[in-house]
């Protein structure tokens, strides 16, 4: 069982690959958090039952595999049939028998389960042909959706740990760092620091030992690439860490996982146990003489712990408060010893870089940002989910070609990138090629790859306030500019959205922002004003409408917005009546419905469900005027 040499590893890989290729029929059922929520576990079980029932049928050698997240969570549960390459979406357990009968036995495609392209309206049969997948280039996510994350042999068959074998038996630590340097890979956690340079600093730093850490504390709301990687291909993370550990000669490592990602913890735990069993972790890896082991630490649910120095304090069992950055963690990190901390996606890419060469990785991307990058594309976009693309792809291509455009074909307003430290990019910058520098110049940030698409029904003042409220809650409170700055800013926003904004409020916000950027201790505080400043830069008129006209142009801010049903559009479908939480809508089926302004709480639930788009928002103060008349 335990691998004692490189030959044994290669033999095991060959054997696993043979088993894999000999399977006549594979059914891949996505079991990521998204698909599980839509009932994919039941689907996988139904397939297993159906196989058991048909075991006499020798023509179909069925094999069901529960895989990690395919990324297209919104259409889940997803089922991929191989070798046919067919993708079925929104599969319910009740249809499994039909799939086995018609498609697997009968060779017939079921059109109703195929993906329907929202752009062309056509049904797409092949997984690879679905626009959401067709444009992607997967490096860090290369095995997700293809392997069963709980089966290490499946991962080995697909090439996992081959990079480990290569570095342990063919390369010196110096050569490993050299190869990563050639790739030009930069940290995928947001800041974009050069990976090889980080490793070199740690290797050069004096200290009796050093550590290798993985940052899986993906706290940016709207980002979930790290969750999907840890759940769907934990082996790629372990492989990267083993290679990194060998490069800096570390023997101990930790993966710090967010408390909100229970499935990631489960799958990583299984992966580590399996890797130890096969001698891929622990003492004398593959008989090479190199020792390295990994432990998992579950975070405590604090956003600031995604910051490197706070994460290390948390690993030490302390409160996660950052420290000033003149001390580099590569010199004095965890327990004040040299430490390499990289993001999940960074680690996941390392194995591929070693296997295929740094030059291959560097051939993708832009001048300053090499390789591919994973993004979670969410919000008001038709195809939501997880994607990986070469750096330099334009926002327009991402949102319209892969994302299929805006939900309900409403007008695009902005895309928010980089989470609470990022900003909102407006329509005029849609042709911006996405890389670290371009986003920063646009006043936003790469961050951890969250892209939240917003339409005309999103109020930019409300969104900025949302981020401020988030950060105010998550600020650790150690330094004053961040703690007090956020509080005061939130105070000003509170009065703006209530229609009580004052002349000079915007200038006051900008002044506070400058102070926070200058005086905060860590990046959380320094970057906290980004959402505010970017919306002020691109959507200032929306702020001004709130302050001087007491109106929310998007019809979101409740204290400023009233709703009414337009007479000649309403077909009396009664949906708004059912959706209203406070029974403020009256009307019977097939007749005009009316909103009672007294009872209405301006929540917008009616507008969201109206199929004919006949509910209109208008500034609340017009109601008062009408009453006076």
């Amino acid at each position: 069982m335990r691998i004692e040499s490189r030959d044994q590893f290669e033999a095991l890989r060959k054997q696993s690959l043979e088993i894999e290729t000999n399977r006549k029929q594979q059914v891949l059922v996505c079991c990521g958090t998204g698909c599980l929520a839509s009932g994919s576990k039941e689907v996988a079980e139904a397939f297993a039952d159906e196989i058991a029932k048909r075991s006499i049928d020798a023509t179909v050698d069925l094999f069901v595999k529960s895989t990690g997240c395919h990324g297209f969570c919104e259409r889940g549960p997803l089922v991929v049939l191989n070798p046919q390459g067919i993708l079925y979406t929104k599969v319910k357990a009740g249809r499994v028998e039909e799939i086995v009968e018609k498609t697997l036995v009968g060779g017939e495609v079921i059109p109703g389960l195929l993906y329907k392209d929202p752009v062309s309206g056509e049904r797409v049969e092949q997984y690879e042909e679905v626009p959401f997948y067709r444009h992607q280039v997967r490096v860090a996510m290369r095995n997700i959706g293809r392997i069963d994350p709980t089966d290490i042999l499946d991962a080995i068959a697909q090439g996992s740990y081959s990079g480990v074998a290569k570095v342990l038996f063919e390369m010196s630590p110096h050569e490993v760092i050299g190869e990563v340097a050639t790739s030009g890979q930069r940290g995928r956690g947001g800041a974009g620091f050069n990976t090889a340079r980080k490793w070199q600093s740690c290797k050069d730093a004096p200290g009796e030992r050093c550590y290798v850490l993985c940052n899986g504390d993906e706290g940016d709301p709207g980002a979930f690439k790290d969750r999907s990687i840890m759940e769907g291909d934990p082996h790629s993370v372990l492989e990267g860490m083993i290679i990194g550990a060998y490069a800096v000669q570390a023997n101990e490592g930790w993966i710090y996982v967010r408390d909100e990602y229970p499935l990631a913890v489960v799958n990583l735990t299984i992966a580590i146990r399996e890797a130890r069993k096969y001698g891929l972790l622990g003492e004398n890896i593959m008989g090479s003489g190199f020792d390295f082991d990994i432990k998992i630490s579950r975070g405590g649910g604090a956003f600031v712990c995604g910051e490197s120095s706070a994460l290390m304090r948390s690993l030490e069992g302390k409160t996660g408060e950052p420290r000033a950055k003149y001390v580099h963690s590569t010199d004095k990190g965890l327990f004040d010893l040299p430490t390499v901390l990289n993001n999940v996606e960074t680690w996941a890419g390392i194995g591929a870089i070693i296997e295929r060469g740094g030059a291959w990785f560097a051939s993708m991307g832009t001048e300053r940002s090499k390789g591919t990058k994973a993004f979670s594309l969410v919000g008001k976009v038709k195809n939501t989910g997880l994607i990986e693309l070469p750096m330099g792809t334009t926002l327009r291509h991402i949102i319209y070609d892969i994302g299929g455009g805006i939900l309900k074909d409403r007008p695009f307003k902005a895309v928010q990138t980089g989470g609470p430290s990022g900003g909102c990019v407006p329509e005029e910058l849609l042709d911006l090629p996405v890389d670290y520098e371009e986003l920063t110049e646009a006043g936003s940030m790469m961050g951890s790859g969250g892209m939240i698409v917003m339409d005309d029904r999103t109020c930019m003042v409300d969104v900025s306030r949302f981020f401020l409220a988030f950060l105010e809650e998550e600020s650790c409170g150690k330094c004053t500019p961040c703690r007090e700055g956020l509080k005061q800013m939130l105070h000003v926003y509170g009065r703006i959205i209530a229609g009580k904004g004052q002349a000079g409020d915007l200038e006051l916000i900008e002044k506070l922002a400058a102070g926070m950027q200058l005086g905060s201790l860590c990046e959380l505080g320094k970057s906290a004003p980004n959402p505010v400043l970017s919306t002020l830069r691109y959507f200032r008129s929306e702020y001004e409408a709130h302050i001087s006209d007491h109106a929310c142009p998007a019809g979101v801010c409740r204290e400023l917005t009233a709703f009414e049903i337009v007479e000649d559009g309403c077909d009396g479908c009664h949906l708004c009546y059912k959706a209203c939480p406070v029974d403020a809508i009256t009307g019977v089926v097939k007749e005009l419905h009316v909103i009672d302004h007294e009872a209405c709480i301006s929540c917008g639930a009616c507008l969201d469900v109206c199929p004919t788009d006949t509910i209109r928002t208008f500034p609340k103060h017009e109601l008062e005027k009408a009453e006076v008349v």
Binding site: G317, G320, S376
Partner: protein, 160 residues
Amino acid sequence: MAETPCSDLSKAEEILGRYPQEEPALIQVLQDVHRAYNYLPCDVLERVAEALEVPLAKVFSVSTFYKAFSLEPQGDTIVKVCTGTACHIRGAGQLVEELERQLGVGPDETTEDFKFTVKTVNCVGACAMAPLVIVGEKYFGSAKPARVSKYLTEGGADEN
């Protein structure tokens, strides 16, 4: 703090036995304690402080710093509403309000019968299904206020 005077410390001893008796284990120990008792009882915290040789003030500081910990007893079922950005712009706020209407408690509060504790979480990473309500272990994607009572029955039933 109004508190039942004695917690059953045997569970705490069992947890402490699994870790090295030193400060780096503190958060892991508290996480296990929280799972075992459904909150962090004061007398258990005293025992943890003593065992790990960490000042009680420090244990308290860690207990209040991290969102995963509660010093108050929690309901049998935790109802979480994801209020991450994607859920926010797809109407998570309305879900919180609907829960408040149905259960009579807001975020971080527990119903009188200790059946439910409502919490808001900053993104569970299932943004493609936004907005989300999680009742116990069950995720409800594309959640709608009108279906909240259904979520509570379905998710709550799983717990018992």
